[in-house]
């Protein structure tokens, strides 16, 4: 499988804080790649580097073979890099439908004069977007009952789903999901996992996600990269990562069962 995204020796620091150190991993095309790691490991910083919001001090990000450095966030969106945000970033002053349509912004052309007149090409373009959004996205994500509602009135799970819809309206090649199921109940998580797999299979989109829910990560990922303290510890298939002693240590503190037992029961050693 060719790699649609390649991250090479990426380093990012804020003053003395090293958010990312020499991070390298690959994102295979048309697969689900997950970045895992404890809180503060640098996962969201990595996403922000790929989106173009942070500028890494060192290293390169290659997207479809081209280096992304120097390309501004809106241009990256137009190239097919779409994302959702950890703390839902919907536009609260707009309806669900308008939020989703906003995702199609980069693929639309009408200018200010066309907008004022709402006539001819502008009108046709708006209608084409509406039809496209209704047919392929609203129907697919099962949110037709809320399209007229303000996003502020929706439950957390539905807001996450609307955010996914907005990202899909960007017609992405790579869909970056920052904690897509955080704070959801079991049913909502299962729905979201199903959507992610369908997006990969039916839309042919590459998924890159950050997630803490291990059972979901292990279930749907094709490829996993593990970050800890700004470094990549390992990457590989879910089964490989699961049994990697360094990963277990990152999550539990240690991989050595004896020393773990000692840590938990220090007084028994004395006795």
């Amino acid at each position: 499988m060719p790699n649609i995204l390649e991250i090479n020796n990426l380093s990012l620091s804020f003053g003395g804080v090293k958010a990312l150190q020499d991070v390298s991993f690959r994102v295979p095309e048309n697969a689900v790649t997950t970045v895992i790691g404890p809180n503060g490991a640098g996962k969201t910083s990595l996403f922000n580097c790929i989106s173009g919001f942070y500028k890494p001090q060192q290293g390169t990000i290659r997207y479809q073979g081209d280096v992304l450095a120097g390309i501004k966030p809106p241009a990256r969106a137009a190239m097919g890099l779409a994302r959702t945000f950890q703390n839902i970033a919907l536009f609260r002053g707009m309806t669900v439908l308008d939020n989703i349509k906003l995702g199609a912004h980069v693929h639309m052309k009408s200018g200010l004069l066309g907008s004022l007149a709402y006539f001819g090409a502008t009108r046709r373009e708006e209608m084409a977007v509406r039809r496209d959004v209704e047919k392929h996205i609203i129907d697919f994500l099962e949110i037709d009952h809320i399209r007229r509602q303000s996003v502020a009135s929706l439950s957390y799970g539905l807001q996450k789903r609307v955010e996914l819809a907005r990202a899909l309206a960007m017609r992405p090649k790579v869909l970056m999901l920052d904690e897509p199921v955080a704070g959801m109940n079991r049913e909502e998580k299962e729905d979201m996992a199903r959507f992610i797999l369908d997006i990969r299979e039916e839309w042919g989109v590459t998924v890159l996600m950050v997630e803490h829910d291990m059972s979901m990560v292990m279930d749907i990922s094709d490829h996993i990269a593990v970050l800890n303290f700004g470094r990549v510890i390992t990457e590989g298939l879910p089964a490989e990562v699961q049994n990697n002693p360094e990963v277990i240590e990152a999550y539990l503190g240690t991989s050595d069962m004896d020393s773990l037992r000692k840590k938990l029961n220090p007084e028994r050693e004395v006795a």
């Binding site: 809106p74 002053g93 707009m94 200010l112 007149a117």
Partner: protein
């Protein structure tokens, strides 16, 4: 109870008026606007024209501050650019009013883009101060560039004309101002049905994620400034034609605050709110004056007692609205509409 408005096509669903009831009411409203000058006396006609001008300018500021989230105290300055453009063109050229008003709007838009340049770096109160600086600078130009603006004495201009027809009375000006106000509000309504308007709102709500979703912040912030200033420029041009004199004092700083207050009282980010706010801010001081006149026969001291109170009552009304109706006058209207669209059921 609102029923039977299921749609067969997306075109029908995206229309401004989605039911025949709405279309009929809007037609009635237009008819009332058309009949008004034939029924009204000179005073109400004068007020009608002032409200029309205020509606255009408030709608412009609403686009910038209410929908794009960029606070501006430069509105009076942009109106001044429009006013002086119209005055200068009517003195030095023979061009008819549609051309001069268009130039007034375009020049104001160009100045608006310049004043709006800091908006990429600063926002909130800092942007308010930056636009205030722009406004002071424009005021300085109006007062000092005597060869063009006539200095402190200002410029007097001929009435608006179009193919030999002159608009020298309030009655005739009404038929320029009000149709233009209706058209410009509808234009703004259209903007918020399209990608441009969605980009404005996205910038207001979350500018960082808007950028990551593909919106060029510089482009759309400046576009918002340009559009808003265009509306201000046209309003200023109408102002010049209406009073037929412009001086630096025609466009004081308090005018910028007046329009900002109109946007806030009416409802930020709501076009109807801009209209209601403009009418409220223009008419309430007058209504208080009329109230004083009506009280005089009963209390001969009313004018002496009331005149220093008017400003206080006006201010208290604004504060009262902000406390009890933070979403503005438009919210009251929405509540009334909701009541009737659900009637006879409650909630």
């Amino acid at each position: 109870m609102r029923i039977g408005d299921a749609k067969q096509s997306y075109e029908a669903d995206e229309a401004i008026w989605t039911s025949s009831t709405q279309k009929i009411w809007f037609a009635c409203f237009l008819l009332a606007l058309a009949v008004f000058p034939f029924m009204a006396d000179a005073y109400f006609l004068y007020m009608g024209c002032l409200v029309g001008i205020a509606v255009i300018s408030t709608t412009g500021l609403n686009i910038l501050t209410g929908f794009t989230g960029l606070i501006s105290l430069g509105q009076a300055g942009f109106m001044g650019v429009g006013g002086y453009t119209v005055a200068w063109m009517s003195i030095n050229t023979e061009l008819p009013f549609p051309i001069t008003l268009l130039f007034a709007g375009l020049l104001a838009a160009a100045v608006g883009i310049l004043v709006g340049l800091p908006s990429l770096r600063v926002k909130g109160l800092y942007l308010a101060i930056a636009t205030l600086a722009g406004s002071v600078f424009l005021h300085f130009i109006f007062a000092e560039w005597e060869s063009v603006t006539g200095g402190m004495g200002g410029l007097s201009l001929e009435p608006a004309h179009f193919f030999g027809f002159t608009f020298q009375s309030d009655f005739r000006m009404y038929f320029i101002i009000v149709p233009l106000a209706v058209l410009m509000v509808l234009g703004a309504k259209n903007v918020f049905r399209t990608r441009t308007g969605r980009a404005f709102i996205a910038i207001r709500d979350r500018d960082i994620s808007a950028e990551i979703l593909g919106i060029n912040l510089l482009r759309y912030k400046l576009m918002s400034f340009a559009l808003s200033s265009f509306y201000a420029g046209v309003a200023g041009g109408l102002f010049a034609y209406f009073y037929r004199v412009v001086t630096p004092e025609s466009f004081p700083l308090s005018m910028s605050i007046f329009y900002l207050a109109a946007v806030i009282v009416g409802g930020m980010g709501n076009l109807l709110g801009g209209i209601l706010g403009a009418a409220f801010m223009t008419l309430i001081p007058e209504a208080l004056g009329l109230l004083t006149a009506a009280l005089t026969p009963f209390y001969p001291n009313a004018p002496i007692f009331m005149s220093p109170m008017l400003e206080i009552i006006f201010g208290a009304l604004i504060v009262g609205f902000l406390i009890f109706e933070p979403h503005g006058l438009a919210e009251i209207w929405h509540r009334i509409r909701r009541f009737f669209s659900l009637w006879p059921f409650r909630n």
